[in-house]
Amino acid sequence: MVPTDLRYTKDHEWVRVDGDEATIGITQYAADQLGDIVFVELPAPGKTLDQFATFGVVESVKAVSDLFAPLAGEVTGTNEALTASPELVNGDPYGEGWMLRLRVANHDQLDDLLDPDAYDALVAAG
């Protein structure tokens, strides 16, 4: 069961909204599928993202995967610990392995995301 206080994309990102601030990362399922994560590339603060736009990449030993913004907004911060320790994404994807903070542009976009039950079903279906 995935954390119940989050919303999810079909591409396996999660978002936690607190007021106007959204925190974004990838799910445990995504981290497990990628395997050992060795590189995370994130945008500079100030950049404005559209909903579902590519905001960066995550690389495992073998593969490169794009990251997609669950919500539109302006980047207010990134997890700089991932530069030296990208493996935090494998170890604690919903906590220390967070990636991005956004100022939410439009709260209605949360309705376009999966709730925990729907995301669980997506993962279960493979």
């Binding site: 395997g35 050992d36 060795v38 590189f39 590339e41 990449v57 690389e59 495992s60 030993v61 073998k62 490169v64 530069t83």
Partner: protein, 376 residues
Amino acid sequence: MNAAAEVTVQNTPLAERHAALGARLIDFAGWLMPVQYRSIIEEHRAVRGRVGLFDLSHMGELFVEGPEAGPALARALVSNPVALRDGRAQYSMICAPDGGVLDDLIVYRLAETRYLVVANASNALLVSDALAERIQGFKAVLDDGSLATGLVAIQGPRSIDVLGPRTDVDLASLRYYAIAEGHVDGIDALVARTGYTGEDGFEVFVDWGRTVDVWDGLLPAVEEAGGLPIGLGARDTLRLEAGMPLYGNELDRTINPFEAGLGRVVKLDKAGDFVGKAALEKAAGAPLSRKLVGLTMEGRGIARHGYPVFAGERRTGTVTSGTQSPTLESAIAMAYVAPGDAEPGTILEVEIREQRIPARVVALPFYDRRNPPADG
């Protein structure tokens, strides 16, 4: 997975073992193979530091037998298997008439009249067909043993301690690139001191149906020595650190052995003609159009297969393989570049997602077990 793929994908004799170990399985060259059991990095480090066990049963084992088996192979391949002594092996290639590499191979001389050629899984059928055609007219026959022969590799500094007690082959006197007939856990086996990891290690050829027994005997011993089963993911990072080419990346039909830095394998002066000789003689005397180099990334980013390489504003070449090196803990790559840009120390740039990231040309290999990196 679609229905067509399900029909064509083949299982090695160890498929059930991989599934039971929780391996992530992928379709590799038509075979369902473990890419990792738990972690590519952990598996990689197990082989560098201790020992790892690999299922390589997907590879092609082609036996060439008969009084003219040696000369037949000398005609078919670029190396000279006739020059091998019994029980010794050589790295070789099979080339097209235009000198392009069809596959890279290991040739083992089991006896004067019996050779074993090991081909990559992705090329096994092509090599089998080409050998069958090229040895016509010689007193030699091809026995394609690919689906009758299992292959398990045990690699890493502890491999001799793990395999030694389980075999009657005298491993201490088995030299690098040598092979001996014997037994492993009482099962008929060919034991070779070869591998694709940059570590000491062995490859064990056994009957397809007995492969699972050999694996079941070796795996607990490997684990007791602090080792792990190893998937294709770590096999790739291990060979890349060791600067070894992978067919489909550093080698393909459009590349000749000289460009790949493997000209030493081509024996232009051996007796008789061989397929590709005229083209390779010309290539040996001509200036190279490109050269395979090692790169270490000087900026943030991992170069990957297919990424463009620049010298200033000039496109100089293309990355063939790249990864984050678990041993060096930095990004490494191999690339073909213009010969003038191939000198170690040269700073080039790799284009990664529309950004140019500096990379330094370095001598291969990245990792040499006889000269390991300072403790890290």
